[in-house]
């Protein structure tokens, strides 16, 4: 593989936004709230 392509791929993986797995948001509809 071309060295420049390999470097670009490496840079891409390094800078790619990796969002961790988790619960991002939660919403509840509630009753009886005053």
């Amino acid at each position: 593989m071309d060295t420049r392509v390999a470097l670009l791929l490496l840079l891409g993986f390094t800078l790619a936004p990796v969002t961790p797995a988790q619960i991002k948001h939660m919403e509840m509809r509630v009753e009886g709230m005053t």
Partner: protein, 145 residues
Amino acid sequence: MKKHLERQSGVQSVDVSLIDGKVAIIPKEDGRIDPPQLLKAVYDSGVSVAEMVVTVRGKVVKDASGNLAIQVEPDQSFTIAPNELSKELESIASAQTVATVRGQLYKKAAGKKKLDLSVPLKLLILLLAFGLDNSIEVTSGLVLL
């Protein structure tokens, strides 16, 4: 109720709307929240939950029983209730693809006032997205993919 929820593990902030009875919970970036624990916390405050909707990101897997699930932590996953959208996930479960899912995790049974956590919560998918940076943004009731 707001203060009680904010004291729960993994909760960053809680936003309560008295007008439409909606409670939005933002988890901590590095925290872990436990939906059944939060449901219980609301009921302990004297309020009942009609519906709980979550947006989760995780690997699509098959659990030990062969059910489709989304794994959000090494030891936390949600079994996915079958519907039209879950069929799309069936084929990618073996590849453990990362997906972002918005779905209903709890809905109060008609005629029941008390919280019943004897049955494990299942995630009924409403929206889904795949990939590294695909996200589902929730803004003022509008859901954007």
